[in-house]
C-alpha cells in the first residue's frame, strides 16, 4: 500500500500462509444475481482511505468479465459483480496492488436486523421527542387553558408512534425478563414510560396542568442512543474479525476413479476419496498421503514450530498447511469427524461448563428496580395517608418513578463501554462484547500459548555471523526458490550479501533445494540428504558435491513486545504460565528468555482446557492468550481470552478480544483500558445514584413538575456521557516508533527489521 501511512497493520503477508483461492473455490462461494451475473464478496482488511477505494475499484472494474466493483470502507469489503464464464483474477490483481484479500462467505453474513430496528426506533423517538419538547416549552412558557389542552392532545398523539416503535424494544425485553422471573434494567424503564404516558393522558382528558409526554419520549430517545452506539461498536468488532482469513478450506479437488477432477465442498468429502493437495493449500480433512513428499506446517494445529516432513503413508491432520510439494492424499474421515470438528466439540463442552458472568449493569438493575418501585409505592401510601387526595398521591408517586427513571443509569454502563471499545479499536484491538472488558479487569493469571502467540511462528537464522559471506550468499540465492519457512529465514538472513543469479535450481519437496553451478552440485536442505555418506549433523545444511559446507541454526522469532508485556504483567502482580504443544527444549528456552517460571510442553488441546479449568477451580481468574486450533477449547474455558489476528479462525471466533497489530503489548493495554473503564463505570454509577439521592426527596415532597423532570434527565445524562469520554486510550506512538512498526509496500521502513 502506498496511498497513505498505514494505521492498522492486519498481518504480515509473509507470516500468515494463505493460498489464493482457486477459481473453483471462488465459483462455489459466489452468489448468482440473475442475468448471468455473479457476485463475489472479498474482505480486504488493508483498505483505509479514499485512495484505496479508487485504486481498487478502478483496477477491478478494468478486468475482463467484471461488471462492477464497490468497496465498503466501513466493513472493509469489496463486492465484485462478474459475468459468468471465466472467473476474473481478483486476488492476483489485489495482491499486485498491495492488498491482502480473503474470500468472504455471504452465507455467514445475514442482514443486521437489530441495527435497522434500533436506528428506526431512534429516528422516530427523536422526531417525537423534538416535537413534543417544542410544544412542552410553549406550555412551560405560559400557555393556558384551551391552548395548553390543544398542545397536550397533540403531544399525546405524537407520543403514540414513538411508544409503539421505540418503546416496544424495551417492553419486549422487560417482558421476556419477567417471564424468566428476572427483573432487568428494562423493567423500570417500561413501567415508568407506560405509567407516565397513562397519567399524562388522564391529566389531558381532565384539563390538568402537568403532562409528562416529553419526559417519557425523551427518556426513550436517550436510552436508545446508548443502545444503538453499543450495538454498532460490537457489530463493527465482529465484522472486522469475520473478515480475516479463514483456516479451513472450503473445498478440495477430488480425483475420481476414472481420472477426472472435480472440485467439491469440504462437507461432501467422504472417507476413501482421493484428493489433490497443491502446495500452499490447507488439508481439508484428516487424510493419508498416497503420492508425493512435502513439508507441512502444523503450528496452527498442534503448536509445533518446526515443519514436518511427510512421505507416502504419513497421516495428515485437517487444518495443517502443505508447504512445498503437491500431494495426492486419501481421505480418512469426513469433515465432521476431523480434528477441526473435534476441537469445535471440545469448545462447546468447555462453554457449557463455564459459569455465566453477571454483568455489572444487570447486577445494578437487580437492586435498582425493586428499590425504585418500593419507593414510589411508599410515596403513594404516604401521601394518601397525609392528604387523602387520590389524584395528587398518584401523580406524585408517578413523578417519583419518572424522576428516578434510569436515564443516567441506563447510559452509565453502555456509554463507558462504547468509549472503551472505541479506544481499543483505535489501537487495533477488537472486543466482542462489553462483559469481556468487565471480565478482563478481574484477572490475576495469564496463560500463554507459545507458537504463534509469544512467538511469531516464523523461524529466524541466528548463526549468520558464523558463516562465510559467500557461502551465505549462495545459500540465500538457493533458498529464494523455496517456500519452506527455513528457506525463507535463510533468504532473509543472507539478504544483505550480494548474490549471484543461479540458473539451474530445483526444489525437492521434503528434502531441500538443489543447484548446479558449473560442475558443482550444491544442496541446501536436510543433512541426511545433502551430505553423502551420512553425517552426525542434523538440521539444515548446505553441501557442495556431498561435502558439508555450512550448518544453519534457527530460532523462532519472539513477537514484538513479548518481553515488555511479561515484565509489565509481572509488575502488575499477575501470575503467568506457558502451555505449549511444542517440544520441551523449545518451550523451556523461550520461557527462560522471557522470565516465566511456570511452563508445560507437549500439551494436548484437551489438556490445555483442563489446566485452565483447574486454575479456575482453584479460584483464579484466567486470561488465555492463544492462536492455534489447539488453543480453542482453552480459550473458551478461560474467564476471558485474547487471540491475535493471525490465529485460526475457530480460535478468533472463540476469543473475546482479537488484536490486529503484531505487538503483544495489546494484552497489557487491553487490561489497562478495562480497569480504567471499570473505574469510570463505578464513577458513573455513583453519579447516577447521587443524582437520584438529590432528586427523589424533591419528588417525594411533591415539587417535581415536567420542567424539572426534563432538566434533571438531560443534565444527568450529559454528566454521565461527559465522564465516560474521559477514558484515555493508548498513548499515540512517536513517528519513529510508528515507522519501526510499519511496512509500506512490502519493504521495511527504517534500517532494521524489529527483532
Amino acid at each position: 500500500m502506498s496511498c497513505c501511512a498505514p494505521t492498522e497493520i492486519v498481518s504480515d503477508i509473509e507470516r500468515v500462509e494463505h493460498s489464493t483461492p482457486s477459481p473453483e473455490e471462488m465459483l462455489l462461494v459466489s452468489r448468482t444475481l440473475g442475468d448471468g451475473i455473479r457476485q463475489s464478496d472479498l474482505s480486504v482488511p488493508g483498505v483505509h482511505c479514499g485512495a484505496c477505494i479508487q485504486k481498487i475499484e478502478s483496477a477491478l472494474s478494468k478486468l475482463e468479465g467484471v461488471a462492477g466493483a464497490r468497496v465498503n470502507l466501513s466493513t472493509k469489503r469489496v463486492s465484485v459483480r462478474w459475468r459468468e464464464g471465466k472467473v476474473p483474477p481478483l486476488f492476483e490483481t489485489l495482491e499486485r496492488l498491495g492488498y491482502e484479500a480473503h474470500l468472504f462467505d455471504p452465507a455467514a453474513d445475514k442482514k443486521d436486523e437489530a441495527l435497522a430496528e434500533l436506528i428506526r426506533a431512534l429516528g422516530i423517538s427523536g422526531f417525537a421527542a423534538a416535537n413534543i419538547m417544542l410544544l412542552s416549552v410553549s406550555v412551560w412558557s405560559g400557555a393556558e387553558g384551551a391552548t395548553r389542552d390543544l398542545f397536550h392532545w397533540v403531544s399525546a398523539l405524537i407520543a403514540i408512534p414513538a411508544l409503539a416503535v421505540a418503546g416496544r424494544i424495551f417492553f419486549r425485553s422487560a417482558w421476556s425478563g419477567l417471564k424468566h422471573g428476572r427483573a432487568n434494567m428494562d423493567l423500570p424503564i417500561s413501567i415508568g414510560v407506560l405509567l407516565a404516558y397513562g397519567m399524562s393522558l388522564y391529566e389531558t382528558v381532565h384539563h390538568g396542568e402537568h403532562a409528562y409526554f416529553d419526559a417519557s419520549v425523551t427518556l426513550l430517545f436517550f436510552l436508545l442512543i446508548g443502545r444503538t452506539l453499543d450495538h454498532v461498536m460490537r457489530e463493527r468488532a465482529r465484522e472486522a474479525v469475520k473478515g480475516l482469513a479463514r483456516l479451513a478450506a472450503r473445498g478440495a479437488m477430488v480425483l475420481r476413479p476414472d481420472g477426472s477432477r472435480d472440485y467439491m465442498p469440504t462437507e461432501e468429502i467422504e472417507p476413501g476419496m482421493r484428493l489433490l493437495l497443491a502446495a500452499g493449500e490447507r488439508v481439508p480433512v484428516d487424510a493419508e498421503v498416497e503420492v508425493g513428499t512435502s513439508d507441512l506446517d502444523c503450528s496452527l494445529v498442534s503448536g509445533e514450530s518446526a515443519p514436518q516432513n511427510v512421505a507416502p503413508g504419513a497421516t495428515l491432520r485437517a487444518g495443517t498447511l502443505n508447504l512445498t510439494g503437491p500431494l495426492t492424499i486419501r481421505a480418512l474421515a469426513a469433515a465432521k469427524d476431523s480434528f477441526l470438528a473435534e476441537m469445535v466439540r471440545m469448545m462447546e463442552a468447555a462453554e457449557g461448563g463455564r459459569t455465566v458472568y453477571r454483568r455489572i449493569a444487570d447486577r445494578a438493575s437487580a437492586l435498582y428496580a425493586p428499590l425504585v418501585h418500593l419507593t414510589a409505592f411508599l410515596t403513594f401510601l404516604g401521601w394518601m395517608a397525609v392528604s387523602g387526595d387520590l389524584h395528587r398521591s398518584v401523580t406524585i408517586a408517578i413523578a417519583v418513578l419518572i424522576i428516578t427513571c434510569p436515564c443516567a443509569l441506563g447510559l452509565a454502563v453502555p456509554i463507558v463501554q462504547v468509549v472503551a471499545a472505541r479506544r481499543l479499536f483505535e489501537s487495533g484491538i477488537m472486543v466482542k462484547d462489553g462483559s469481556a472488558m468487565e471480565r478482563l479487569a478481574e484477572i490475576d493469571t495469564v496463560v500463554f500459548d507459545k507458537t504463534g502467540t509469544l512467538t511469531v511462528g516464523a523461524p529466524r537464522l541466528v548463526n549468520a555471523d558464523a558463516i562465510q559471506p559467500q557461502t551465505l550468499a549462495l545459500a540465500a540465492a538457493m533458498a529464494a526458490h523455496s517456500r519452506h519457512p527455513l528457506s525463507k529465514a535463510i533468504a532473509k538472513g543472507g539478504a544483505a550479501a550480494p548474490h549471484q543469479a543461479l540458473a539451474d535450481t530445483r526444489e525437492l519437496p521434503g528434502y531441500g533445494v538443489e543447484a548446479r553451478v558449473g560442475e558443482n552440485l550444491y544442496r541446501l536442505g536436510r543433512a541426511d540428504w545433502a551430505v553423502s555418506g551420512g553425517s552426525a549433523e542434523t538440521g539444515t545444511v548446505l553441501s557442495k558435491n556431498g561435502e558439508l559446507l555450512a550448518g544453519f541454526e534457527f530460532e523462532d522469532r519472539l513477537r514484538d513486545g513479548a518481553a515488555e508485556t511479561v515484565r509489565q504483567l509481572a509488575n502488575g502482580g499477575v501470575q503467568m504460565e506457558v502451555l505449549s504443544g511444542d517440544r520441551p527444549a523449545a518451550v523451556e528456552k523461550l520461557s527462560a528468555a522471557l522470565g516465566i517460571q511456570a511452563f508445560r510442553a507437549g500439551v494436548l488441546p484437551g489438556e490445555k482446557a483442563d489446566r485452565v479449568a483447574k486454575l479456575t477451580a482453584d479460584g483464579r481468574k484466567v486470561l488465555m492468550v492463544g492462536d492455534g486450533l489447539n488453543d480453542a477449547p482453552a480459550l473458551v474455558a478461560a474467564h476471558v481470552s485474547i487471540a491475535p489476528a493471525t490465529a485460526a479462525d475457530v480460535g478468533r471466533n472463540a476469543a473475546d478480544f482479537v488484536f490486529l497489530r503484531e505487538s503483544l503489548s495489546a494484552v497489557p493495554l487491553a487490561m489497562r483500558i478495562s480497569k480504567d473503564s471499570g473505574r469510570l463505570i463505578r464513577q458513573n454509577l455513583t453519579l447516577a445514584v447521587g443524582y437520584n439521592a438529590i432528586a427523589v426527596p424533591i419528588a417525594i415532597l411533591g415539587h417535581v413538575t415536567p420542567l424539572v423532570a426534563a432538566l434533571a434527565m438531560s443534565l444527568s445524562s450529559i454528566l454521565v456521557v461527559a465522564n465516560a469520554l474521559r477514558l484515555k486510550g493508548a498513548a499515540r506512538p512517536t513517528i519513529a516508533q510508528a515507522a519501526g512498526n510499519a511496512k509500506i509496500g512490502g519493504a521495511t521502513l527504517g534500517s532494521m527489521e524489529p527483532v
Binding site: 482511505c49 479514499g50 485512495a51 477505494i53 479508487q54 478502478s58 468497496v71 465498503n72 470502507l73 466501513s74 466493513t75 435497522a116 436506528i119 428506526r120 429516528g123 422516530i124 422526531f127 423534538a130 416535537n131 417544542l134 384551551a146 391552548t147 390543544l150 397533540v154 405524537i158
Partner: protein, 49 residues
Amino acid sequence: MATLLYLIPIALFLGGLGLGAFMWSLRSGQYDDLDGAATRILIDDEDEN
C-alpha cells in the same frame, strides 16, 4: 387560537417529511458505509474516454 389550528399540523407535516426522508435513506442503504461515503467526496472522477 385559530392560527394554531393550521400551524401545528403544518409543523408536524414538515417534521414528518424529515422523518420520512430519514426512513427512506435508511432503507436505501445509505448508512451501510459511512466511512466510505465520507472519503468518496475527495475522489476525483477520472476522465471518461
